[in-house]
Structure formats: structure tokens, C-alpha cells
């Protein structure tokens, strides 16, 4: 077991799966401007995942960024559950993006001071992108939450559906704990206060309630235990490399 490899994959997988899900909006956005905005964000995330996959591939023989992305099965993916959850309506997409981006922001902020120079460099580059993702998604949280009865209701439903997926963000997996001693990884349990404070301030402005502490949390994504939806996502994303191995275009 190589904790650095697993950890790098975990970071890569979360970005790739979130990015791929968001890319499903491409061509279906409510307006052309929002279609482009979400596609930009999806591309940012897929770009982040490429950096992490390239680094992970360098840590292991006989792997490339493509084999890691296209030839692993669902059980081997270590992405957060919030990344794979379906897009739902606009409110759910906005909500999960806001919750996830805020998590990524505080994570990368800490990872910049990692002893691992690669992880540090990738985080520094990604942080600028994520800062914009928060800005964009939080504006929409406020717009929808403080909008009409209908948009407010949809946001409440979206929060109810996505909140149980946020617990595992702050529960370290075995490979994360193994990297704490040598100051490579981030103690994710320390990120929760900052994360919650940011969520609270945006939800307040959006006149949306923050769920209480007694909500049951789903977990397992980081360890490869996923929802049914990830299988379908991978089936579509990996089809070409599975059907035509080594295909380039």
C-alpha cells in the first residue's frame, strides 16, 4: 500500500468525477451564458484531475493518467460521494457545487504548505480556479434561496438531499491519516469549522437554513464504496477506451 499514491488518486478522482458530472450540463444549460459557465468549471476540474493523475502515474510503474482515469472500476475510485451524485435540477447542481468548492478551497489552502512539492504546486494553481467556483456558485445560492417561493423551496430540497454527502469530507480515510506524520497530507477534520462558517454566511444571506448536527451522514466514497450512479457515469466516460483500447484521436 502506498498512501501517497492513494491520496493523490483520491484528489484526482473527486475532481474528475465532479467535472464529468458537471459536463453533462454542456448543451443543456438554461441559457448559453450559464451553459458556458458550467462547462468552464467542469473543464477546470478535469484539468485539476489531470495534474493529480499525472503525478500519481509517476509514483507507480505501468500506469498513465489515461489508465488511471479510464481503466479502473468503480470500486477503485476514491472520489467523494458528492462528486458522483446526479445533477438533479439547477438548484441541486448549484448546491453540490457550492458545498464541494468550499471544501476544495480550504483543502487546497492547507495543501499548499504540504511537504510534497507536487501536491503543493497543483493546489496553488487550483486554488485560483476554486475561488471563482465559490464566487459563482454562492451568487446562485443567494439568488435562488432569496428568489421566489419556488426557487427557495427547490434550494431547501437540494440542501436536504446533498447535506448527508458532506460528512465524509471531514472524516480522514486510512491513507490520509498515514500522511499526517510527514506533513504531506491535510487533517481534513480541521477544515470543518471554516467550511461551516462560510456555508452559514452564504445560507444566511440566501435566507436558507443550515441543517443541524444530528443529520445522518453517508460515507464510503473515499474507500471505494459508491452509489449506483457512479457505475453508469464510468460506463459512459470509459466506453471509448474500453471498446477501443489505446485509441487516440
Amino acid at each position: 500500500m502506498n498512501p501517497l499514491f492513494d491520496y493523490t488518486l483520491h484528489l484526482a478522482d473527486s475532481s474528475l468525477i465532479m467535472g464529468h458530472r458537471l459536463s453533462e450540463w454542456t448543451g443543456h444549460g438554461p441559457t448559453i451564458e450559464l451553459d458556458i459557465a458550467l462547462s468552464n468549471i467542469a473543464l477546470d476540474l478535469i484539468g485539476q484531475s489531470r495534474n493529480f493523475y499525472q503525478y500519481a502515474a509517476a509514483l507507480k510503474q505501468n500506469e498513465t493518467e489515461d489508465t488511471l482515469a479510464y481503466l479502473r472500476d468503480a470500486r477503485e475510485f476514491k472520489n467523494l460521494l458528492i462528486a458522483e451524485t446526479s445533477n438533479g435540477d439547477w438548484a441541486k447542481t448549484i448546491t453540490k457545487l457550492f458545498l464541494f468548492s468550499t471544501y476544495q478551497y480550504y483543502l487546497y489552502q492547507q495543501l499548499i504548505v504540504s511537504e510534497d512539492k507536487q501536491l503543493s504546486a497543483i493546489s496553488e494553481k487550483s486554488l485560483k480556479e476554486v475561488t471563482y467556483h465559490i464566487r459563482w456558485s454562492s451568487d446562485w445560492v443567494i439568488r435562488l434561496g432569496d428568489g421566489t417561493e419556488e426557487s427557495n423551496l427547490r434550494m431547501k430540497k437540494a440542501i436536504e438531499n446533498t447535506w448527508p454527502l458532506t460528512g465524509e469530507m471531514f472524516e480522514p480515510a486510512a491513507y490520509e491519516n498515514l500522511l499526517l506524520g510527514n506533513r504531506i497530507g491535510v487533517d481534513v477534520s480541521n477544515l470543518k469549522n471554516d467550511w461551516l462558517k462560510k456555508i452559514q454566511s452564504v445560507f444566511d444571506e440566501a435566507t436558507l437554513p443550515v441543517p443541524g448536527n444530528n443529520i445522518w451522514m453517508q460515507r464510503g466514497g473515499k474507500e471505494g464504496i459508491h452509489s449506483e450512479g457512479l457505475g453508469y457515469l464510468l460506463a459512459e466516460m470509459q466506453f471509448l477506451q474500453r471498446a477501443y483500447p489505446g485509441c487516440e484521436w
Partner: protein, 109 residues
Amino acid sequence: MQKRKNKNLQHKIFFMKQEEPLWEVFIRSKQGLDHKHVGSLHAADAKTAIENARDVYTRRMEGVSIWVVESKYIHASNPDDAASMYDPANDKIYRHPTFYHLPDEVKHI
């Protein structure tokens, strides 16, 4: 139940009428250069218009600064008036500064 603020009337208008105003977008490509008109887009308010402009018009590193103005506030000259507006300048070449002789000592003009 929390009290809803509904502070931004623009949001309400957007959701109720399902139509957003048009905005003209100006981008400055480099420090020190002018903002240039690049196109237009729809957005519910100025803040969103700037974010949309960022996503639509600066994806390929086109700019360092964005201006937006609601299209309805642009007042344009009438193309039908072109003859009376611009043609009279055609034979007034003396308005060009090339007719003035500058002393050799004057530089940078």
C-alpha cells in the same frame, strides 16, 4: 420560518417574466489599453453580467478588466443621418494636423 428578504428586485423580475435584460460588454485586453466592445449577453443584473462576461468573453486570456452597461442605456446615432453627419468632413482636409509645420526642436508629436 425565516423571513425572506427579497432584497434584489431584479431577481424577482427575472423569475417572474423569464426574460433578462441585454448588456453590452467591454473588455480591456492589457493594462493601459482602452476597453473595447466585444459583444453582448443576457443577465439579470450587473454582477451576473460581469460574471457571464468573464465566462463568455475571457476564456482565452482576452482580458484583465470588464465593463458592462445595459444595452438600453446606449444611445446611438441614426444611420439615416450619415450623409449630413459625416460627409461634410470629406472635403475639409485642412482639419488634419499635417498642414502645420512643426519646428525641428519639437519632438514626440
